[in-house]
């Protein structure tokens, strides 16, 4: 059974479960286990982990930040190194590792959840949660316009470059914010106004409901999976309040 066959609500339940475990797990071993489960299930359901490649850069930068913060500010354990006012304590590294593992689980689970369903599935899922379709459909709309906006921004930058604006270094980019961002903003406002008008003139919002070209229905395996995950969370919560051991 592929990931795409699962109902988005099942994927949401899995996402919640992963976030929950990343938050309640305290040791590096527990967190490693959760991350392993997350990665293995992804591999089984999608057959490849290629799509998560881009995420590694984000995780690397995030990990570097967590490590720096822990090295500079952690005051737990024994002092193992001192250089001027910089003091490094023995607990800094384990805390940084658990922090990085928690961040990895959250980023990985988020990426999987948000890339495994189509915009239409998100819209339908939000409607199942009783969110009015006028708002739920905005998800699809934002997905639709993102690539267009990106292409337009590139054209704007090109246009200003031909007028002599330098966009080569970070400082150039900073200086070029006004000439590039303002046309982008004007265009976005104009587009938003035109899109909204086009939608209204095609009857958007004339009634409380509308016909969707597809529908969401929980299948027996979705129900079983969601029930199972809810049960795991419930048992874990009960165990937290009334520890068995």
């Amino acid at each position: 059974m592929g990931l795409s066959k699962l109902d988005p609500r099942t994927k949401l339940a899995w996402y919640v479960l992963m976030i929950y475990f990343s938050l309640i797990s305290g040791s590096a071993l527990q967190l490693s286990m959760v991350l392993l489960v997350e990665v293995v299930t992804s591999l089984i359901l999608t057959g490849s982990l290629k799509r998560y490649k881009a995420m590694l850069v984000v995780l690397f930068l995030l990990g570097l930040q967590i490590l720096t913060v822990q090295l500079v500010f952690c005051r737990e354990g024994v002092l193992i190194y001192q250089w001027g006012i910089l003091k490094i304590y023995s607990e800094a590294i384990p805390l940084a590792i658990t922090g990085i593992l928690k961040a990895s689980i959250i980023v990985f689970a988020s990426m999987r959840f948000f890339t495994s369903s189509s915009a239409q599935e998100f819209t339908l899922m939000l409607m199942k949660f009783k969110i009015p379709y006028r708002f739920a459909m905005l998800v699809g709309l934002s997905v639709r316009f993102l690539p267009i906006m990106k292409a337009e921004y590139i054209s704007i930058v090109d246009s200003q470059r031909t007028r002599g604006l330098k966009m080569e270094s970070a400082m150039d980019n900073l200086k070029g914010i006004f000439p590039t961002f303002l046309p982008f903003l004007y265009r976005s406002v104009r587009r938003a106004a035109e899109t909204a008008l086009a939608m209204e003139l095609r009857g958007y919002g004339r009634t409380k409901t509308r016909t969707f070209t597809s529908n969401l229905a929980l299948k027996p395996y979705d129900i079983a999976l969601i029930s199972g995950m809810l049960m795991v969370i419930s048992i874990s919560l009960v165990n937290k309040v009334l520890p068995l051991l």
Partner: protein, 509 residues
């Protein structure tokens, strides 16, 4: 004939404006009419369409004195999202009006809002896509559509609603000659066979007049003249002939090479071909028109010439220097690039500030900047607007502003990428006249266009591109000899004055 709508606008004034955008408008629309609206820059054409569709006063606030009724109902009393029962409206930029992620979803969008059962939606989407020539495109992602395809998808979405009136604002602005011809044929067919009432703001006079029965000329917010298509065509052709009499294409005589493209190929990241094995020489004083259908590689070539893209293979020399990173700034100092959409560059809060931007970047002195701004604004006819916010100008005026922003740097070589796209004919000629004057004063112009009329009338040399390759490089005066070759690649110069096709009211096309 049954009257389907009555438009009586004594006065329409936008907030914070003194002058009315429309005044003394009074006409009736009969079922089956095919009305073409034309007029000068910022004359009120689109405002009139907005008033008929209910966008004014429901969406854009304005004080409307008068009454617009459709099928006996005052549009002031109708909610905007109920207007789809009466009017289908297609605006200028198709990508702004596509809502669905795939073609099926977009065409079905309006039908879904009407709560039509899914089986009927399926059938109507299928039929409409077939009608606009997009059968089999149901699952195509809308972001991957070309300009022409996107325009047809929007048309399908509007037509699927079966409204009795279809309102279109420059529907062929992004289409090449072939796409334009096809779209007008389809509209003509709808008008004749289904008695669909069509009101359209015209961008080019040639094709659409074959199908129209009334022409309104609007000026200063007022319909100053109503024509039969024949009378309008006659008048326009006469005035065009007069205008073109003054054009004598004598450029390209300097023998100094401005740009040389040698065996250039460009491939996009996704392995899509941009252009292949291009060899081209541009001589000082040339007014060179590069023509071709949408996607033929014209714009890629233009971007290569200004260094926005780097050739995957081959060499480009501009001003006798190899176009590379080191020489780029120097080359761009002497060359200007006019983009298709002026809004890609406008950011300043006044017209004069916008024009002076390049000079400020070059560190010119204030007195010089001011003098050059005035000169350029005078040249493009915008001197009176120098203190105005650029976005208060019409689209045509904004394109002139973009041209002034380039001219202020006094470039020797100007590349204009479809500068008349999105403009109506009057505005288009205005831009072309300015480019022609520049060419006469010794500037080298490279015009990327799919407007064959303009290519023919203004250039001294025509280069035709097809399937990313340079197919033909000829002098414009020899055009007649190559008409067959050009027709074979979808560039039909015979069609540019196609109104003659109409004989006794029947369309031969």
């Amino acid at each position: 004939m049954e009257t389907i709508a009555k438009v009586n606008i004594e006065k329409l004034v936008f907030p914070d404006e003194d002058k009315p955008a429309l005044k003394n408008i009074d006409f009736e629309i009969n079922r089956g009419d095919f009305i073409v609206i034309t007029g000068g820059v910022a004359s009120g054409k689109s405002v009139l369409l907005h008033s008929i569709t209910g966008a004014i006063p429901h969406y854009h606030k304005a004080e409307l004195t008068g009454k617009v009724t459709i099928m006996g109902q005052d549009i002031k009393d109708m909610h905007l999202n109920r207007m789809s029962d009466y009017v289908g409206y297609m605006m200028q930029e198709p990508q702004n009006q596509i809502i669905g992620l795939d073609v099926y979803e977009d065409v079905a969008f309006g039908l879904g809002n009407l709560e039509i059962p899914i089986k009927q939606i399926d059938q109507r989407v299928k039929n409409t896509l077939e009608f606009v020539g997009l059968s089999g495109y149901e699952n195509r992602e809308t972001t991957s559509l070309s300009g022409g395809q996107a325009q047809r998808v929007v048309l399908a979405g509007v037509l699927a609603l079966n409204a009795p009136i279809l309102v279109l604002d420059q529907p062929t602005a992004e289409l090449d000659p072939l796409g334009r011809d096809e779209l007008y044929k389809r509209l003509g067919q709808l008008n004749k066979t289904q008695n669909l009432t069509i009101i359209l703001v015209m961008d080019r006079i040639e094709e659409v007049l074959n199908y129209a029965n009334r022409v309104f000329y609007i000026q200063g917010g007022e319909i100053v003249k109503q024509y039969s298509p024949e009378a309008y065509y006659k008048e326009q052709i006469e005035s065009r002939k007069e205008r073109l009499k003054s054009l004598h294409t004598v450029q390209g005589k300097f023998n100094e090479l401005i740009a040389k493209v040698t065996d250039v190929t460009y491939t996009y990241k996704d392995h899509l071909s941009g252009c292949e094995d291009i060899n081209l020489e541009i001589v000082k004083g040339d007014f060179l028109a590069i023509i071709g259908l949408n996607g033929s590689g014209k714009s890629t070539l233009a971007k290569l010439l200004i260094g926005l893209l780097k050739p995957s293979k081959g060499e480009i020399r501009v001003f006798d220097q190899t176009l590379n990173k080191e020489k780029l700034a120097e080359i761009r100092f002497r060359a200007g690039f006019l983009f298709q959409n002026p809004d890609y560059q406008i950011f300043a809060s006044t017209v004069e500030e916008e024009v002076g931007f390049s000079l400020k970047l070059r560190g010119e002195q204030n007195e010089v900047i001011e003098q050059k701004i005035d000169e350029c604004l005078k040249f493009v006819g915008l001197l009176d607007y120098k203190k105005l916010h650029p976005h208060r100008l019409s689209r045509g005026q904004r394109q002139l502003l973009a041209l002034a922003s380039i001219l202020v740097s006094d470039p020797e070589f100007i590349i204009a990428d479809e500068p008349t796209s999105g403009l109506d004919e009057t505005q288009g000629y205005m831009i072309m006249d300015k480019l022609f004057h520049l060419s006469k004063s010794g500037k080298t112009i490279l015009l990327i266009t799919h407007d064959l009329t303009m290519a023919k009338e203004y250039s001294n040399r025509i280069v035709a591109m097809h399937n990313h390759r340079l197919q033909l490089d000829i002098l414009t005066r020899d055009l007649e000899e190559y008409l067959k070759t050009l027709k074979a690649i979808g560039l039909n110069f015979h069609n540019i004055i196609s109104f003659r096709e109409v004989q006794n009211g029947t369309v031969e096309a």
